[in-house]
Symmetry: C2
C-alpha cells in the first residue's frame, strides 16, 4: 500500500482542458487569475524573528484600529526585541510578553507600553465598507460566519457587530480580568484548533500568514496554563526582533500574495470546500466550518 | 500589568464551602468524586515511544472493532518498532508508517500487515449499549454531537449511525482513495484543530490521552502534504516502540483516570463550559463545540 493522502490544500494539481462539473479546490487555485489574489501591505505585516524561525502576521486595522496602532508604535520602538515567548500551552496558544511584566522595577517601560486601551472585542459593521463573503452553513457560536479581506469573521445580525474568529493562527491581545486591561504589549497566537469561546472576549488584531509552524512546534511550557516554569528548568524563549514590514530591509521582506475572499473564484472555492469532490473523499459533508478553510497564501511569481 | 490568563481548564482552583449558583469547570472537577472518573483498560492503551517522548492512545473498540483488533495484533508483533513518523503536516496531522511502504521488496511484512480491512467509518447505534451525553448546541457537520466513554462522537439521527469526531488528538487509519484500503499499518493523529471534514471518511480508532504535545511539537515535514522530503534533507522520525499497555512492564505504565461522560457531574461540566462563568470571561457564548471540550485526564492518586 502506498502512503495514503489526507487531502488538504494541494497546489500542485493540474487542470484538465475539458470543462469540469466538479469543483476541486486545488484546480480552482490553479486556474485562478492574478486578480484573484491580493498583495498584503507591508505596513500591516509584523515580522516576528526568533531562533526557531520567522513568523509573519498580517494585522487587521479595520477590526482593532487602536490596538493595531499601538502594536505598530511599539514595534517601531523595538519594544519586543529581547523579550520572549513566555507561554506555550498545548492545544491552545503561544504568548509573548516582557518576562519581567510582574516586576515593576525590572519591566520594560516604553512609550505607550503601560497605557491600557479600550477593548475592541467587536466592531460595528460599517455600511458598504467591509466586504463579507458569508458561509451558507450554520455555525456553533455565531449568527453568521464568513470572510473579510482574507480573514475569518463572525457577525451578530441583531447587534450589527463583527469580529475576527479564533481560528488557527489568529493573533490577539492579552488582558487581565477586566476587558479593558490590555495595553498591546502581551500578544498571543492560536496554535491549535479553534478556541472560539474566546471570540469577543479578547481583541483580535490579525492572523499569521507565514511560519505558523514555528510557533506550533515550539516546546510546551509545563507551568500553570503552559507558562514556562523556572522550577522545572524551563526558560522563556527569546524574541530576536519584531518589526513592521516597512521597517524590514526590502530584500528580507516576504513576497506573498493572499487569495482574495470577495471574488467569484472564492465563492467557488467555498463550494469546493463544502462538497470535497476530490476522489479521496467518500462522505461529502456539504458543509464547512469557517476555521476549516485556511485562506491560501503563496509566493508571488514576480 | 501581570500576565493575563486565557482560562482553559485549571485544576487548581479551590471550592468555596458556600453554595454557589455559578458553575465553574475547575471547581466542579475539584468537587468531583472518585466515581466520576474511570480508569482506562491497559488492554486498550497504546504506548508510542519515540526519542521526543511518549504518547499514550486510548483505543475505542466499540467504534472500530476490526481495526482495533488489527492494531493490537500488529503491536503484539512489534510491527511498528523501528518504523517512523513519515509525515507532520502543520495544522493537520502526524502520520506513522513503514518508510518503505512504497517499496514492495523492502517493506515490512508481518502477519496481517497487508490485509485490507473493511472500512469502519461509522457504526450502528446499538440499543442501550453505548451511552451518549448529547450536547444541546447545533453542530456544523453532524445532526448531533456529544460524548461516549470519554470521546467526542457524532450521530446521524436518520441513519442511526455514530462515529468519533476528528478533534485534537483523534487517531485514525490511513487509506488510499478507496474507503476499503486501510490495513491498519498506517495511522495518523490530529495535531491541530478539528478537521471535521474527515469525519466518516476514515476509520477513527481512538484518541490521545497523554503526550499529545510530543506529536504536535514535532518538526514539520516540507514535502507535499507534510511528508518529510529527502531532497530537503528531511528524514522520517524513528519510532522506538509501540506497545499495548498489557505488554508494557507494570511500573512503566501510566496510572491515569479519565472523567466519565455519563454522570450528573459531567452534565454540569457541559453547562459550565457553555456559560463560562469564570471572572475572566466578558462574553459568554452559552454554546460549546464538542471539540472545544477536551475530556479531563489526570494522574490517579493511589
Amino acid at each position: 500500500m502506498s502512503y495514503f493522502l489526507l487531502l488538504f490544500t494541494v497546489f500542485a494539481a493540474s487542470v484538465s482542458a475539458a470543462p469540469k462539473k466538479k469543483l476541486i479546490g486545488s484546480e480552482l487555485l490553479e486556474a485562478s487569475k492574478p486578480t484573484d489574489w491580493r498583495t498584503p501591505d507591508q505596513g500591516n505585516l509584523l515580522y516576528f524573528e526568533m531562533n526557531q524561525g520567522r513568523v509573519v502576521i498580517e494585522l487587521a486595522p479595520e477590526y482593532a484600529p487602536r490596538h493595531v496602532a499601538r502594536i505598530k508604535d511599539l514595534a517601531g520602538q523595538k519594544y519586543w526585541d529581547g523579550l520572549a515567548v513566555v507561554r506555550v500551552q498545548d492545544n491552545y496558544v503561544v504568548q509573548w510578553a516582557d518576562p519581567n511584566a510582574e516586576k515593576p522595577e525590572l519591566k520594560r517601560k516604553f512609550k505607550g507600553s503601560e497605557e491600557v486601551l479600550p477593548a475592541e472585542l467587536d466592531v460595528e459593521i460599517p455600511k458598504g465598507k467591509m466586504e463579507f463573503t458569508k458561509l451558507p452553513d450554520k455555525d456553533v457560536y455565531a449568527d453568521e460566519t464568513g470572510f473579510t479581506n482574507g480573514m475569518a469573521a463572525g457577525r451578530d445580525k441583531k447587534l450589527k457587530r463583527t469580529w475576527l474568529l479564533h481560528c488557527y493562527g489568529a493573533v490577539g491581545v492579552g488582558r487581565d480580568n477586566a476587558p479593558e486591561s490590555g495595553d498591546g504589549t502581551e500578544l498571543y497566537a492560536v496554535i491549535s484548533g479553534s478556541p472560539r469561546h474566546l471570540d469577543r472576549n479578547v481583541t483580535v488584531v490579525g492572523r499569521i500568514i507565514q511560519g505558523a509552524e514555528v510557533f506550533s512546534s515550539l516546546p510546551r511550557g509545563h507551568g500553570t496554563l503552559g507558562f514556562f516554569d523556572k522550577d522545572k528548568g524551563e526558560k522563556p524563549l527569546p524574541i530576536k526582533s519584531l518589526r513592521l514590514g516597512t521597517e524590514v530591509p526590502e530584500k528580507e521582506r516576504v513576497n506573498l500574495e493572499i487569495l482574495r475572499t470577495d471574488t467569484p473564484l472564492f465563492a467557488q472555492m467555498i463550494l469546493a470546500k463544502r462538497t470535497r469532490e476530490e476522489e479521496w473523499f467518500h462522505y461529502r459533508a456539504g458543509k464547512i466550518d469557517a476555521c476549516n478553510f485556511p485562506i491560501p497564501v503563496r509566493e508571488r511569481k514576480n
